[in-house]
Structure formats: C-alpha cells, structure tokens
C-alpha cells in the first residue's frame, strides 16, 4: 500500500509538471469546457428547459460535469497506455514491478486528482454564473466515489482493448457518443446504462433529495460489476499482450 501511495504521489507530480509546462492548454481547456456548457444550456433552452428554472439548469450542470469526469477517467487510461507505448515508458512501468493494472489505476486516479482542481473551479464558476444553490450532504462522497470507481471500470475495459488492438480512438469516440449524452440527459429509461444511475443519484443528492435504499444498492452493484469486469478484462489483455509480445509496441 505504501508503494502504491508513493507511486500516486510520483504520478501526481508528473501530471502537474507536465501541465505547468503548457499552461495555455490548461487555461484554454477551462474556457472551452465553460463555453460548451453554455452551448448545451442554449440547446436545452431551445428544447424546453427554462433558463429561469435554476433546478433544471443545476441538473444540467451536474450532469455535464459528471459526464466530463466520466469521459476524463475513461479516456485517460487508454490514452495514457497509447502515449506510454509511443514514448517507450510502458516498459519502465512493467519494470517498476507494480503490475500494469495497479499502475494504470493509480496513474488515472492521480491524473483525476490533478483535474479535480480544474473541475472544482469550473463547478463553482458555472454554479455562480447560473445562480444555482446546491445542498451539500455527506452522502455525496460515497456517491462520487462509486461513480469514479465505475468510470475506472469502463476505463480499464477500454484500456484492455488498447493493449491488444492499439488505436482505440474510434472505440473512445463511440463511448463518448453513448456515455456522455446519457450521463447529461435525465432519462429514467436510460438508468440501466453504465454510469447513468450514478449521475442521477448524484443530481438528486445535490438538490437535497432523498435516495431510496434500493437505488443505492443497484448503484453499488453496478459499480462493483463494472470495476470487476474492467479489472478482469485488463488483466486478461495484459497477459495476452505479453504472450503475443505486443506489450510496449505502438
């Protein structure tokens, strides 16, 4: 556990150093994400969401940010595998002795940890501009952790595809087209879809609602299932890639 913590800190520092070398990317990223939100808000208003109704806008904002978080976590893992393979650092990760699954989970969490700051700024700025008041309860924490773990599970599954087949940009685009709108949109009939139930629970909690025990249970089961499946697929792909001698090749 201590070794993983050291790895987490090293990855956090690395992510930070890489980001501060390119500050413009960071600032423009924030601006772009803000603009997209207002674009979405505009589209939503055209299709019936009233800008004067803070409850509806707040639900849209939460969905939007959760969608961004999910996409960030899901795509970070496969993007990093691809980057590390290109720079030849994937071999060093194997040589570090942590095991690829642990390494990439920790790396994704570190990168997410670094982006959390970005998300927090964005959330408060957009919430302020949109004049939204949220209810903060302790239940948000487990909901957020479960949501994050489920996203990691999806990320690991996509990482497995990257390890074996390389070039997952099409798969990632497909996932973006499916998951992102599903997380943003509030459609109860889509709650069986990965991460959608979690986003819905999160929204309810932020608006001071009470979530039924059964929905919590379903959310937890979905998270465990997604994460276990992701780990299983990633470890199987890791083993297969080593058998085929693919590991570290672009």
């Amino acid at each position: 556990m201590r070794r993983l913590f050291i790895l987490f800190i090293a990855e956090l520092q690395r992510a930070w150093l890489e980001q501060v070398r390119y500050p413009l990317q960071f600032v423009l990223g924030l601006v772009l994400v803000g603009l997209i939100f207002y674009l979405l808000l505009g589209v939503a208003q055209i299709s019936g969401v009233s800008g004067a109704n803070p409850a509806q806008v707040s639900r849209l904002l939460v969905g939007y940010l959760l969608g961004l978080i999910a996409l960030g976590v899901v795509s970070s893992l496969s993007n990093q595998i691809s980057k590390e393979a290109k720079s030849g650092t994937l071999e060093n990760m194997v040589l570090s002795g942590h095991g690829l699954t642990a390494f990439f989970v920790v790396q994704t969490l570190a990168r997410f940890g670094q982006n959390l700051f970005q998300f927090a700024i964005l959330f408060f700025v957009l919430a302020h501009l949109s004049q939204i008041n949220y209810t903060l309860s302790w239940q948000l924490l487990p909901a957020f952790v479960l949501f994050l773990i489920a996203a990691l599970g999806l990320g690991l599954a996509l990482g497995a595809v990257e390890l074996l087949f390389k070039e997952t940009s099409s798969a990632l685009l497909l996932l973006k087209l499916l998951v992102f709108p599903a997380v943003i949109a509030e459609l109860p009939q889509l709650e069986w879809f990965p991460l959608v139930l979690g986003a819905s629970i999160f929204r309810e909690l932020l608006q001071g609602g009470v979530v039924e025990g059964l929905r919590w249970l379903l959310f937890a089961v979905e998270t465990v299932a997604l994460y276990s499946l992701g780990v299983f697929l990633f470890q199987s792909a890791d083993l297969e890639a080593r058998k085929r001698g693919l590991l570290g090749h672009e």
Binding site: R3, I6, L7, A10, Q13, R14, L17, E18, R21, Y22, S87, G88, T89, E91, N92, V94, L95, S96, G97, H98, L239, R242, K243, R244, G245, L247, G248
Partner: protein, 305 residues
C-alpha cells in the same frame, strides 16, 4: 545470479509460426559482463524482453537471485535499457525523469535526487538537467536511457545495444561505466552488433543463432581456443583457392588467406590442400571476437544449407 533456463518462445499468427527461442539457457553471475551476440532476428531482444517480463515464455523460466518473475523482489533486482532512443517522459526534464524512475522503484526522494545528480555528472549531462527530454540529441537520449536503467542501482542490468548510435566519446563514457559496474559486483547482460565493444567489455560470450545458444564460454577461454586454430597464410603470388573445409577468407589481392580450423590437427590437411601453391609463410594469428562470431554463425548456416 541471473539464470535463464530452457526458455522457449514461439509466435503464432494465422499465416505463420515463428520459433523465436528454442531452449535458451545461460547464466549471468554477479560481477560478470555477458555479451549475448547474434545476427538480426536471432532472438536477442526477445531474450531481453523475456527476462524483463515483457514477454511470457511458452516454457522455461528466468530467476534472478532466486526470485521468479511475478515475485515483487524479482523486478527490484533488475534494471534494463531496452531501447536507447525511448523510455523517457518527453515533457519532463532530464533530472525529473531520473527522480521519477528511482522513486517509483523504491528510493526515497532525497536518495533519488542525489543519485540523479551523481549519474548526470558522471555522464556529462548535468548542464542539461533542466532540459525537457524531448529536446535532447540522439546521443544524449542514449546516455539518459542508460542512466534511467541504472538509476535505482540494481544488482543486474540488461543493456540492449547500449552504444548504438553514440559518438566515440559518449560510447567510451558508457563503456567505462559498464566496466565500473561490473567491478562493483553488478551482473551485466548486453547485446550488441559491435564486436569490438563486446570484446572490450565482456568476460563471457554467448552466441545466439536461430533461437539457440550455440556457444557460451568465458571470453579468455574462447580466444585461447581459437588462437591455437587461427592462421594467416601468405602466398608469393596471387592464388585462387578450391573450396576448403575450413572457415577462411582470402583477401582481394589473392595473397593473404586467414583460416580458422576446427582443431589443430587440421593444419596438416590445410597444408596438403595448399601444397601446389607458392607459400611465403604460415603463422599463428591473434583472433578477434568478430571472427569467432562469424565462424559460429556461419557454421550454423552451413549446417542448415
């Protein structure tokens, strides 16, 4: 001790089956520099990648100081330079790259920083410590990749063509380091196509041909063994030669013939075969590692033909 024991590896695809390693076995002791030599495609890099755990063998095992791959201590015993032009985070500085690798591999931050400074000084890269890795020249990248492989001070180091593409000075610095590490008790396995580099560095030679170790001997024994059997024949006038059952090469002028015999007794047979030609002299010659390598890999090819 690093023990590679009966390792086999075959790659199968829909169209073909390639036997890359067939029962490869050898050892590297502490303080020893073993040169793993072989032609392109002979299986050297697959052997290195198998030891690193990047490739899982179909059969056989690798142990380092008693630890098998999969045990946490296994990787702690090992440092590896797999590709001299890659393996660094391009956006991190030279110094940050080394500190990252050593902390991830278990060193404290302070020890990592000290070690990084020591290595950068040693390799003449201290001036470049703040430069992002992506801005380094090819030679500097090679030196950095070497430093990255040994930064956590492992007891065994694998070096896949460490001096490839380096200028004379840089290669010399690296060679000095390799010898110093061996003197300090590290076991080193290196692959190279530069025979003179192997000859300068190694204490043992293993030749890999078509996925098999065809020779594994201490360098001195090998040179002595061949020294007895290597002759230079000089003719008084240019000659052409019939096919000879020995490894040989006649120079362009047709005046000098270098011959490697399988055993000293063959000298008489050689004399018989050359008799009608006007000989000036026959003398024993000091053999070079490149000739031994050529002799062994050619023998293998001849047998196959």
């Amino acid at each position: 001790m690093l023990i590679v024991d009966s390792v086999k590896k075959t790659y199968r695809s829909l169209r073909n089956v390639v036997h890359v390693l067939e029962e490869v076995s050898f050892q590297v002791q502490a303080g020893e520099v073993v040169a793993l030599l072989g032609r392109n495609g002979s299986g050297k890099t697959t052997t290195i990648r198998t030891i690193c755990g990047l490739v899982i063998p179909d059969a056989g095992s690798v142990r380092i100081n008693g630890f098998r791959f999969g045990q946490q201590e296994y990787m702690a015993q090992l440092g590896a330079l797999i590709d001299t032009n890659r393996g660094l985070f391009p956006r991190l500085s030279v110094f940050e790259n080394l500190v990252y690798t050593s902390t991830v591999r278990g060193m404290s931050r302070r020890a990592a920083a000290e070690r990084a400074k020591y290595l950068l000084d040693l390799l003449g890269l201290w001036e470049k410590r703040n430069a992002p890795a992506q801005t380094l020249s090819k030679g500097m990248l090679s030196k950095m990749a070497f430093a990255n492989a040994i930064v956590h001070d492992p007891p065994f180091v694998l070096l896949d063509e460490p001096t490839l593409g380096l200028d004379v000075d840089a290669a010399e610095v690296l060679e000095e380091q390799i010898l110093a590490m061996a003197k300090a008790g590290k076991g080193i396995l290196l692959t190279t196509h530069q025979m003179e580099v192997a000859a300068r560095l190694c204490t043992r030679v293993a030749i890999l041909s078509d996925g098999k170790i065809v020779l594994d001997k201490p360098k001195q024994d090998l040179l002595q063994m061949f020294d007895l059997q290597t002759y230079r024949v000089t003719f008084k006038e240019p000659v052409s030669l019939p096919s000879l059952p020995f490894i040989h090469s006649l120079d362009e002028t047709g005046l000098v013939l270098d011959v490697t015999l399988n055993h000293p007794g063959e000298l008489y047979e050689l004399m018989d075969r050359l008799r009608p030609r006007p000989l000036r002299s026959i003398e024993k010659r000091e053999v070079e590692l490149a000739e031994i390598f050529r002799a062994y890999t050619l023998k293998k090819e001849a047998r196959r033909a």
